[in-house]
Subunit: 459 residues, 2 copies
Amino acid sequence: MSLPNTRTARLASWSSTLRYTDLPDAAVQRTKDLFLDWLGCTIAGRHHPAVRAIVNFAKTMGPTTGKSELVDGDLAPFSRTSPAFAALVNGAASHVVEQDDLHNRSITHPATVIFPAALAVAQDVGADGQEFITACVVGYEVGCRVGAYLGKSHYENFHSTATAGILGVAAAAAHLLKLDPAQTLSAIGTAGTQAAGLWQFLLDAAHSKQVHTGKACFDGIFAAYSARDGLLGTKDVIEGPRGMGNGLVPGKTMPEAIDADLGKDYEVLHSSFKWHASCRHTHPSVDALLALMSKKGVRFEDIDSILVPTYQAALNVLGMSGDCETVHQSKFSMGFVLAIAAKKGQAMITDFTEADLKDESIREFQRRVAMVFDREIDDAFPERWTGRVVVTTKDGREIEERTGFAKGDPEFTLTRAELETKARSLAKYGGITDGNKVEALIQRAWNLENETDLHGFVF
Amino acid sequence: MSLPNTRTARLASWSSTLRYTDLPDAAVQRTKDLFLDWLGCTIAGRHHPAVRAIVNFAKTMGPTTGKSELVDGDLAPFSRTSPAFAALVNGAASHVVEQDDLHNRSITHPATVIFPAALAVAQDVGADGQEFITACVVGYEVGCRVGAYLGKSHYENFHSTATAGILGVAAAAAHLLKLDPAQTLSAIGTAGTQAAGLWQFLLDAAHSKQVHTGKACFDGIFAAYSARDGLLGTKDVIEGPRGMGNGLVPGKTMPEAIDADLGKDYEVLHSSFKWHASCRHTHPSVDALLALMSKKGVRFEDIDSILVPTYQAALNVLGMSGDCETVHQSKFSMGFVLAIAAKKGQAMITDFTEADLKDESIREFQRRVAMVFDREIDDAFPERWTGRVVVTTKDGREIEERTGFAKGDPEFTLTRAELETKARSLAKYGGITDGNKVEALIQRAWNLENETDLHGFVF
């Protein structure tokens, strides 16, 4: 079957034919970094009630044997199932603790959908480490490019991690299933017509965030396996007149993002690691505030108020966190997060607790933080996530600080030592006490391209 | 937990508390009519390649034992599975042959999502006929009201049967699981944030139509079971500022449709049966043409050309059928469908064949049919599906005919004898040769409220 002359077909064709030997070493190494980071996030999020409910669904509706594994070893004897359900559970768990990676241009968290799906399918088909890495690179490429295409106006209503990510999942799974370009295009089409995930849940602290990522994995795997078995997906689901662009994007799309410079650059190299444990939209401001406090010797108790000029998407997402009744909501409040950072000198996963929600000094600080729209910062977003804070001290000084990128951004990525530290802390937060197990998994991640069997990434 | 004072919460509360004894007999009887009609559609669609691929997915990813049954008995030994997968397969199969019911105001086909999901869950929980009927009434009510809320502008891009239907599925499943109003609201929230299904597939005859209905079943069941197990759905997914209305509706919504007159009228009474086997948007015109030909003694070979003034949604959907390379596409071409009806005197399921695609007299007739936008008809749509044809005969006469509703509409519904005839023909089309089996299932459908076990609706 000949492919149509469209951007989406070119993307599908490239995805299908990419080989491990095509990849520059930097892309391989970064994929391993992202994989370890994802693994830590997955075990850290396993106890969330949404994950528990989804595990129950998987047990009730899916098979309780299979080739694909749940990262949470404590779920045994329910330790293996079919790839769709393993990815559903692992994908839900990895998007709980707000520590997963963030791809700036697409405003998506690719790891939380690409790795659970690719790992589950790789285990199902018996892929080796090199095939797995290649499929993950494909998944990142497709998901991030589609997210960039959908853009900022889409992100106002939709959780792009799911709506764009599902196409990345489909492409990664299709690659592992060795689908040809036409079948891969079908898989992408069937994925795109299932794209869903609204931000409404942020307004009442509902559990949809985990639903969105888990289901993007499940549904993208459905798209790929059914394409293998003859189900035809529509060929131009992204740009077609009744496709995603027309149906899901009220504003401007970025068509060239779909296929420009395929294979010349790699999206895995442009994803940022989270260092702070809060919503990524707070990170630039946290970095700016911590830099300011360090440079100028300003302490928590010296600060009277903070003005945070920022971009519209931050105002939209962070403006929905309400009164922060839960720890999860508190990570979406600019005021609360800056208060934690200012008081504790950091905002790591262990720094957000129930006790902090009741700490009046934090609550009072939170109320003295205001966000305001900044045209220049908004124009640069999402290519650039600028941080800017204007601090007024109790003794009447006004001090400003600005950061051009955040710790963990591609320009300032985490070192392997930092990634290991973060993985250990995530495992600890997830209740893993066997340090040897954690170290062994870290070493396997660094050796991923030489692994011949991808089973056993289980805590 | 107290419910918020919103339309969606009132709908959830009503759904949760409706009892069989609340139902007027007309609603019970019509639900049985709709159920039999759905059963026939399901067996008729079982051989479609999309259904085959979805059956493979269910076998690969789901359990091969369970309490819920596949309507297609030839799939044995894969005859039972979990409710999510049984509904996925049956939901896909029932939306193949373009013979399923159509609810005018919501522009949805409710049966193809509500019955497969409710039957699978009823079998899982051991519900009886009365509980099943009540849950189906709930499913229709929620799905159709949400579809009416989303309206015409949503329908331009989205397959509302899936995007609205998934909420109906969740409500029906929640009712069978005996969820309380707050849990039911959670189920509706989790359903709404998964709502998906784009029309793009119509442009290249892809298989997404079956994906949309099957997945609406699966995903709505996910929403209900996970709500039972503690997964919180967002409380205002329909009308909230980042909900369906804002994200999925470019034009006007109809908020009052969500909760006006709950329990005073029933949406099952407002769904239309399809008599012709083509896209429902062609039916009013087929009726008008057949009436004209009968009244005026006009024959196929007398007709020079036909002008069809119609509403915008018909122009949008039927305008995408292209050259009608497949039998399925041919049912979406106004010209082709009118040619079949004019030549054969009817447009039943056996009247659309591969041979007709190659019949030059039909193709030539098809090219002489033109649609044109009609303001008055469009204003009345979708409450009223008006048919109008202006026929120019070869001897130079111009004759016009107009119908106010189509055969099978609530105002002109099918008799039980007609429903039985249609079910028999659908079963025959699906390759069922055992007439006794068909008659037995017909009798069970008419006796549904007295059934104590809903297993065995298998051809």
